[in-house]
């Protein structure tokens, strides 16, 4: 099922930081992994990944290093301690958000 892009735009940082939480990755690897883990639900336009990654790097949530593999020098992104903290905060924020959205769309009421 294709998802409305606007639903995804607010959560791309959360998704990317989650991918990097376990291991460092290069750009194309992230795209493949994101598609695999979401059963191809989340498919970013691949070029748009890089502004997000560069923004995370500027905020020091990830660091970059160049590494040679298969004869090619790729940039590998790794999450920082600050990034891990930001990930935890974003997960919590996402939990509250989805809970409230579900509450609204399923007609639940606090009253």
């Amino acid at each position: 099922m294709k998802i409305d892009k606007s639903l995804m735009s607010g959560s791309t940082t959360l998704l990317i930081l989650s991918l990097l939480a376990k291991e460092e990755m290069y750009g194309y690897q992230m795209i493949v992994e994101l598609a695999r883990r979401s059963n191809r639900t989340f498919e970013l336009k691949e070029g748009t990944l890089y502004p997000i990654l560069h923004g995370l790097e500027a905020e020091r949530l990830v660091t970059v290093r160049e590494k040679e593999a298969d004869g090619r020098v790729r940039k590998y992104y790794r999450i920082t301690k600050k990034g891990l903290k930001a990930l935890e905060a974003k997960k919590e924020e996402w939990g509250v958000f989805t809970e409230q959205v579900n509450a609204v769309i399923h007609g639940a009421s606090l009253a």
């Binding site: 691949e46 070029g47 748009t48 990944l49 890089y50 923004g55 500027a58 090619r72 020098v73 790729r74």
Partner: protein, 256 residues
């Protein structure tokens, strides 16, 4: 002729106002595109089709470029470049100042003297100091034209710490300045090498033989001349200001 990807990536980079970052962005995007092409080819896609699919997956060049421009802000980029050049400039200035302040003559002399160290002969009298070892041995005995006897004492000093300032050796270049020398007639006074003083003095003093001085980083050799009334039998070297009680005794063989 530019290929389709080059057209696409040029359109991306045109949007990035901070030009120094364009090359790195292009390289990263190209590697991503090539990774995708190869992945599709491994799945059996023909080259041109893989290239077309991979390029389409990259998205709109203007959108990607504008988003990258938002991250690669020119003022931030130039500030970063400026601070890098400042750090390089300061480091270079520091190195130049250090090089300028080094006394190369002393550096070369100390190194050469360190390498020219000669071990004291076996059995030479020695004393262990706080920061090193001192040896003293009897040297040549000669007659001066004025009738006085000149008896040489060879001294070796080996420091455990380079350029260390043992209280015994105030400065590495004048480590024996405050030593005292005595023989059976009592303590000798010190005289600097001065032709006028030397001519007027009769005897019983000591002086450094400057031509025999070698001062390395950890090893120093020096010859001291005792100017005496007659042939020497023995002499004692000590350093009363050190607060330690040490005396090195050297003895000359008396000719029958």
């Amino acid at each position: 002729m530019r290929d389709d990807f080059q057209i696409w990536v040029d359109a991306v980079c045109e949007q990035v106002r901070f030009r120094p970052d364009r090359k790195g962005i292009e390289k990263e995007l190209r590697i991503h595109y090539e990774d995708h092409c190869k992945a599709l080819e491994r799945l059996g896609y023909e080259g041109p089709l893989a290239a077309e699919r991979s390029l389409r997956a990259m998205g709109n060049a203007q959108e990607v470029g504008r988003a990258l421009d938002g991250v690669h802000k020119p003022w931030l980029g130039w500030l970063w470049e400026f601070s890098r050049w400042m750090v390089r400039g300061l480091a270079m200035l520091l190195v130049m100042t250090m090089l300028w302040s080094v006394d190369w003559d002393i550096l070369i002399k100390c190194t050469r003297d360190e390498l020219a160290w000669e071990e004291p002969p076996p059995g030479t009298a020695r004393v262990e100091l706080e920061h090193g070892t001192l040896w003293a041995a009897p040297g040549d005995v000669t007659q001066d034209p004025d009738g006085t006897t000149v008896a040489e004492i060879d001294l070796w000093l080996q420091r455990r710490d380079p350029l260390g300032t043992d209280s015994t050796e105030h400065y590495y270049s004048s480590w024996n300045e405050f030593f005292t020398y005595r023989d059976e007639q009592g303590e000798l006074t010190v005289r600097v090498v001065d032709e006028r003083t030397r001519m007027s003095a009769r005897s019983r003093y000591w002086r450094s033989k400057y031509s025999e001085e070698r001062t390395g980083w950890t090893r120093c050799q020096k010859t001291v001349e005792l100017v005496l009334d007659g042939p020497p039998r023995w002499a004692e070297v000590s350093y009363p200001l050190s607060g330690r009680d040490w005396v090195l005794r050297v003895e000359w063989e008396v000719e029958p």
